[in-house]
Symmetry: C2
Subunit: 705 residues, 2 copies
């Protein structure tokens, strides 16, 4: 049996396509598909199938696909749900290797639809056939002039041919992206919609594009991934193949995640995990679908990007002021031109003008085009400049200037973003760039996205090939685990995991009465902390169940009484059966370390500012477990609290290396336990002048596995 990529290759590059539910009426799905197939001039054989068998658009049609007696590479089914099962059986009998199911109302409607969807997959499996969809809009292959889709975007003619591979879970978003590409001079090797991914899924199409020679960059609109770890492996293959991989993923908000589910039955998963996965695997994460096309087109035109420090050129002094503001707000950096570049620019730029951003407007008339060209040449040749950003405003000799800028950009290969601030007024200049194949952008927001994507891709290109980090061996973990219950753990139980991972905790003891607590406190030494150990109290501080800085036996007894009374007031009331008596440790910086199991990407490890800052700072860093010390240090240094740890404003240095090591250990623990560890929080973890200590811990183990 041929592998998936082979099946997809012949489906996306077919000699013969069948349309089940073909029609002469362009108002129907099967009518639009036929219309587009014929209109765009697909040179292969088209086999229309419909119940009455009358010719369609001059092509002989069949009542049953088996009657065609020809090898079909791909069949598109655009028929009502109630006829699908029969039609699929016929395709199976006709040995069609791949079917595209446009019909909607399956898993996205809930359980009943999901059951009918499983039935389709069952039929396909029985016949050794693969499915794209259901609830998709088909695909296009502009190189074959093949539009096997009902998307009305294909009313356009010709379809934009190029080297971008597009995978979209949404048919109408594919349409918007195709329309945008056609407008800005980008084009596709193929665009494939996958809908509900009942059988073939994003990763299958991605694998096809990685091997497809016509594809030089890959764009994906994702609502949910069926296999996060496979996606990350393929992302690594994209990087090795030199094909930038860009993605827009729905579900960064609760509402967006909910909608993704109701749209293509996709589970969006944790967006934080998605972003961490992108960073780890070199996926360029974009928040706007049309702009993703701009970014990919740019990366195909300018594949070599050393860094993203920007030199701005514009003939408008006002525009460059605003551009400088926007670059700064987007966290992008202006290049500092080298001294020889500065000297050369000064021969025609007045002394009062800054050199970057550079206003090339209003220079002496004879400099006109020459100044614009020379400025670009000088800044492009400067190794301190990673990206040249030309912001085009109305100016005399605009078309000629823009044409020369575009030609020089493509010839010199320095990544060059050309942004037009006027609208259709300067469409002549846009046409000139499209003609020579130079990318351009129409809005500042999108230009900033392209520069950010270039920065991200420069990082992908320059990232050292990390040796796969060896997971930290946690020898006693299985032993520790056997003694623990499932579900939410008490603080002491959670700490036994922490101890197994080799992270220190304060001296502490369990006490079952006030007097027991007093004895423990004397043993540990005053001052101490007293905390309720009840499994049911999650936010102990909020419940008044944590008493700090107890200095004497009497204070311990009073604290016990107060905790007891506080828990009794809870709704429902909680019985105080035991407390943790803990050594009181002062000073240090409060952090949080944690682990989460993500259904898409597996074990995650998290660090952030702890204590009361958790809520107000919202300052966390997150990555996939396991993690190396090097990567842990890099990640922790992105935290806002990092300067506090490293001794900002005269504060004592904290033991950063011990924190890094604890982060690695929590990662090792999370990796070793896998899906068995639902979540773990060490909060606060105190980073002291020497060492770290976990003052509190919470954990939840999966109830079934």
């Amino acid at each position: 049996m041929p592998n998936v990529t082979d099946i997809l290759r012949s489906a996306i590059n077919p000699r013969t396509v069948a349309v089940i539910g073909a029609s002469s009426d362009p108002a129907k799905f099967g009518g639009r598909v036929m219309q587009f197939l014929v209109k765009h001039g697909y040179a292969g054989r088209i086999v229309p199938v419909n119940p009455n068998g009358a010719p369609i658009l001059g092509l002989p049609a069949y009542r049953d696909i088996r009657d065609a007696e020809v090898a079909i590479d791909v069949a598109l089914l655009a028929i009502p749900a109630q006829h699908l099962v029969a039609a699929l059986e016929q395709c199976g009998a006709a040995r069609v290797p791949c079917c595209v199911v446009v019909t909607a109302d399956f898993a996205e409607l809930g359980d009943e639809g999901a059951a009918r969807e499983r039935e389709l997959v069952g039929i396909a499996k029985r016949h050794g056939m693969r499915l794209i969809g259901p609830n998709c809009l088909g695909f296009i292959n502009p190189h074959l002039k093949l539009a096997l889709t009902s998307s009305i975007a294909l009313a356009m003619d010709p379809m934009p041919r190029g080297s971008l591979g597009l995978i979209s879970q949404s048919g109408s978003m594919m349409a918007s992206m195709i329309s945008h590409a056609a407008d800005c001079g980008a084009g596709f090797s193929a665009c494939v919609t996958v809908g509900n991914q009942a059988d073939l899924e994003i990763c299958d199409i991605l694998e096809y594009f990685i091997e497809d020679e016509a594809t030089r960059a890959i764009c994906i609109y994702i609502e949910g991934l069926k296999d996060g770890r496979r996606f990350l492996e393929l992302a690594a293959r994209c990087r090795d193949a030199g094909k930038p991989l860009l993605a827009v993923k729905a579900g960064s908000s609760d509402a967006g995640a909910h909608l993704a589910r109701s749209h293509t039955a996709s589970l969006a998963g944790s967006h934080a995990a998605w972003k961490a996965a992108c960073r780890v695997s070199g996926v360029i994460n974009v928040d706007d679908p049309e702009s993703m096309i701009d970014c990919a087109h740019f990366l195909v035109c300018f594949p070599v990007i050393a860094h993203a420090r920007v030199a701005v050129i514009s003939p408008s002094g006002g525009t460059i002021a605003v551009t400088a503001d926007r670059l700064a707000a987007a966290g992008l950096e202006l290049a500092e031109p080298r001294s020889q570049t500065r000297d050369a620019l000064r021969t025609f730029v007045p002394a009062a003008r800054p050199l970057n951003p550079l206003d090339v407007g209003g220079l002496p008339r004879e400099r006109g085009i020459s100044a614009a060209e020379d400025a670009q040449a000088l800044l492009s040749a400067d190794s301190n400049v990673g990206i040249v950003f030309i912001v085009v405003a109305t100016t005399p000799q605009l078309d000629e200037k823009v044409r020369r800028w575009g030609q020089a950009a493509l010839a010199g290969c320095k990544p060059t973003v050309i942004l037009f601030t006027p609208g259709t007024l300067v469409d002549g200049a846009r046409a000139a760039l499209r003609e020579i194949g130079c990318p351009y952008i129409d809005r500042m927001d999108d230009a900033l996205r392209v520069i950010r994507a270039a920065r991200d891709y420069a990082r992908v290109l320059s990232a050292p090939c990390h040796a796969p980090s060896l997971p930290l061996v946690v020898p006693d973990i299985e032993t520790a685990l056997r003694s623990l219950p499932r579900g939410a753990l008490t603080e002491s139980e959670a700490k036994s995991l922490v101890r197994a991972a080799g992270i220190a905790r304060p001296a502490e003891a369990i006490a079952t009465s006030a007097e027991d607590a007093v004895l423990a406190a004397r043993r540990i030494g005053y001052p101490v902390v007293l905390k309720a150990a009840a499994r049911t109290v999650v936010h102990k501080s909020d419940a008044g169940a944590v008493k700090l800085g107890l200095e004497s036996d009497d204070e311990v007894r009073a604290a016990w009484r107060e905790i007891d009374a506080g828990l009794a007031r809870q709704s429902p009331p909680v019985m105080l059966d035991c407390c943790v008596v803990q050594q009181m440790i002062c000073g240090g910086v409060e952090m949080i370390l944690g682990a989460r199991w993500d259904p898409q990407f597996g074990a995650l490890v998290i660090a952030g500012a702890g204590g009361v800052l958790v809520e107000i700072l919202n300052d966390t860093a997150l990555t996939l477990a396991p993690v190396t010390h090097e990567r842990a240090r890099e990640l922790l240094s992105t935290l806002k609290v990092w300067p506090v740890l490293t001794g900002a404003r005269g504060r004592t240095l904290a033991d950063v290396e011990a924190l890094v090591d604890a982060f690695v250990r929590v990662g090792g623990l999370a990796h070793a336990l896998g899906p068995r560890l639902v979540e773990l929080d060490l909060n606060p973890l105190l980073v002291l002048g020497k060492g770290v200590v976990a003052l509190d811990a919470r954990a939840t183990l999966a109830t079934m596995n």
Copy 2:
């Protein structure tokens, strides 16, 4: 003598215009101006003036404007700098009331150019004449078909007529905004560029637009304001007149501020002060010039905005998922439809689909247009919905759906943002909306800006007319001030200001020797703090010149020695002549309160998270002084640390009212001292369970006034 607005009214709506430096060569400034004047069909009289006096474009020309023997309302001067003085003298002699100087290379080049610029203003003043520019591009008045500008944007024909008044310091940005307006169906009452604002400035033009009946909203691109307080007064008049005032201001970054100076000799001022001023005075601050036109056009079409909770409708399930994510990321809120709306929607929306955002795609065929129309009608009629946001993606019957959406939006008056995600593919639908005068947007970023602008304007409309806050009287302030030096104050000196404003400080004393400090510490009571009182040590903590928690005489002596040794190691070394001995106060929440003098907007008062959080949280709120208790409370509640003050996560409540009162007092102090107080910082100001106390203070008084 007529007032400025009268002069501007007849200049912008002239019967006769003169062009000094008129030419037949469209490559020259004076040639383009003549070409545009004639091409657009200005019906008034045109008086070309140039040295040879030959007719231009069929119009009789003059060697000297005085020869024309006709009353000129406005003259545009497009001549080399060396001829300007003579030409202005001639205009003055010909009693021209207003001249527009296009010529550049004046104050933006530095001191020498500024001197020449002052000479121009002097000539104008002598003749009782007013100037627009220099370094501007003139203006247009589409209602008169008058293009008195050299901007090549006016190659377009016709120019977009409408009700937006535009003021721009940049000529080429005016061009981009005109081009954008023409594309999206917006138009102008007039567009005026002001360049270097040597004489007439933004506020003069603004005042004209406030009084101009054809103008219903005003847009400004600002590089620098000449008179911030006047601008704020005019902003209040805009609000009273029901004319939304929108502004893009360059200079939010250092690079942007620097470029504004080199472009139109403008001092950008503090951007934080600008943003605070916008909030106080109801100016809608936008970061993108073309989008500002979208926002203003929208506010003119939908002038009544109750609130900005959004209902989203789209025929694309993928698009609404992404839209929900983008709204959330932009801090915008989805509306919760009322139950009757929900019930009515459920009659045609499947149960599995969320109702907001609402996917109206793929509904049963017979519902087609009807579903799209009904959904809009139901959500528009719902008072929980402030703004309807229709995201148009490719869908069958698109043009007809969009036309009906547009008509219903204009008829129903519920503010409706229509966004097109496909490009030119759906230009037919765009044309349909332009035809009926319904605004639309082409990019999600811009749609979000429009919704944000609508939210801001809803706040302007609903803001209670704050009674002008009576400045807090600070009775002893002049007495306190007389005893203080100018320049940087010591901690004790700064605290005498704080005390005069009625803000508590800890018990403290000055000590001139270690033994003196011991005596003071005993008097105050242990534990104490010891701090160097040297004027030259600004960051005392960094210099090791603050010793906390001293518990005994010996610890005070040791601390004195350490501070002394530490200061001696400074470069240059500092002699320890005296220290402050201060009561040690524990607990509470550390805040910062401060005041700044801003050259554009006057006294500002600032609050934020204090201590080490100042740097890492970057959490400050800022407003113009003086300030009422009500406004102070509102502003403080926007701080990230606010939940900590009000007792988040079981922390003790802090005395928020005392903090509010201290904020008002610092505002009163800043207002009373005016430019004499350059800056003041109380950091940390400790907010205790009862009251606040300023632990440390820094202040700088102006050295000359």
